[in-house]
Amino acid sequence: MQYHIEHGPAFAWLRVGLGPNERIVAEAGAMVRQSTDLEVETRLNASRKRGFFGLIVAVFVALLRRLVGGETMFVNEFSGPRGGEVVLAPKLSGHIMRRTLDGRRTLFVQTGGYLASGPDIDTRLRFGGLRTLFGGEGLVLLQCTGQGDVFVNSYGGITEVAVDGKFVVDTGHIVAFDGALDFRVRSIGGAKAFLFSGEGLVCEFTGRGSLFIQSRNMSALRSWVIPLLPQ
């Protein structure tokens, strides 16, 4: 598989060249263009389990991802006997990054950040603690495991931070981070800071590993737009 990330950092897209029978999985609606040689298989955004009960579980998981994680309920898998090219684009303005997993390392991705992955990558929903459920900046994460590439999109530019010790990031600016990092969601300072500092919730990382942060924040955009909407 060959890949090119083009038109970044503002409007990046991912161009993937697939060899014969190579596969890539992408979030629903991401396709810009593709070779006519490629077949598309649409399936539920959940790990494949067998039988009727497995299907029920998959529907439930996909629905949960749609409603809680803000992800798409379905994913598309592209492949073809002769290979081909497919171009994938995220919804928001911003960049795309790639992280390769070796089977041991895991990657946490902010939901909405998932764009595409190799066929042997598994993703699961994780919650960043109960406290995140209020304040509108819930930290719902996608845990990626397995072997292969994961492509993640951001809102704005992406900065890689090599954490060694402690590091604090606004939850709305997290793109992805290594599973080796411990994280804890908390409010910054006391109750007064929580209400008036405008910083909402932060995530405190501990340990050694890579952290990727984005230069824009989706919930900040929403809170800016909402007061301007007509009543």
């Binding site: 629903a28 396709m31 263009r33 070779s35 598309v40 598309n76 919804k91 928001l92 955009l221």
Partner: protein, 228 residues
């Protein structure tokens, strides 16, 4: 008359430089600034002048494609033009007999040597909800088109599948047909790709790296419901 594009690719701005007596036609509401010697005339989908005809068309729910024509009187002048969304713009040089088909919202401007036909209905009526509105530009001269995001210029010789939400324009020589985005029609609906075209032949396709509807779908949830 010539165009100049600045601030590419994120926040591109087009400037039309006009000699005395020259004019440029631009998408309604695109004007940012202009010199004082420019005269403006508004054209609707039913052509110049017919106010009642145009109003009727607007009322009846037809496509309402309005443009403004700026003409420099006496001395040279210029007008600057900006689209609504962030993204790139390109100038496409047209030759007579080789029309360009432009997604309605991607048209920015062209001189009067280029005819813009908004009644071309190539794509209409395939699917409810996602009918496409394309303009046919024909003549000799430059046409400015804009994109949401970056623009990719693709020289096609063969066939390809394209998401209509990413299609900016395409040249003559290209055939198109609505096709399934996934295996079956139900899967195509679930695939989230919406309307997908199979384009074939020899010609040029202009694509944008973002899809306005997908963007709306990402920002919209979480906003309070619209009233009225």
């Amino acid at each position: 008359m010539h165009f100049e594009i600045q601030y590419r690719p994120a926040h591109s701005l087009a400037t039309a430089h006009l000699g005395p007596g020259e004019s440029v036609r631009a998408e309604a509401s695109a004007m940012v600034s202009m010199t004082r010697n420019l005269e403006i005339q508004t054209d609707g989908p039913m052509g110049r002048g017919g106010l009642m005809k145009n109003l009727k068309r607007a009322m009846l729910g037809g496509e309402t494609f309005f443009t403004n024509t700026f003409t420099a009187r006496g001395t040279p002048g210029h007008v600057t033009l900006a689209p609504t969304l962030c993204g790139d713009m390109v100038v496409v040089e047209l030759q007579r007999g080789e029309p360009l088909y432009i997604q309605g919202s991607s048209y920015v401007a062209s001189p009067d040597t280029v005819e813009i036909d908004s009644r071309w209905q190539g794509f209409k009526g395939f699917f409810s909800g996602e009918s496409l509105f394309f303009l046919e530009a024909e003549g000799t001269g430059p046409v400015v088109v804009n994109a949401f995001g970056a623009i990719e210029t693709l020289d096609l010789n063969g066939d390809i599948i394209v998401d209509t939400g990413h299609l900016v324009a395409f040249s003559t020589g290209i055939d198109y047909a609505i096709t399934k985005a996934s295996r079956g029609w139900i899967a195509s609906y679930l695939s989230g790709e919406g309307l997908v075209l199979r384009m074939s032949g020899r010609g040029r396709i202009y694509l944008q790296s973002r899809n306005p509807n997908e963007y709306g779908g990402a920002v919209g949830p979480g906003l309070p419901p619209r009233k009225g």
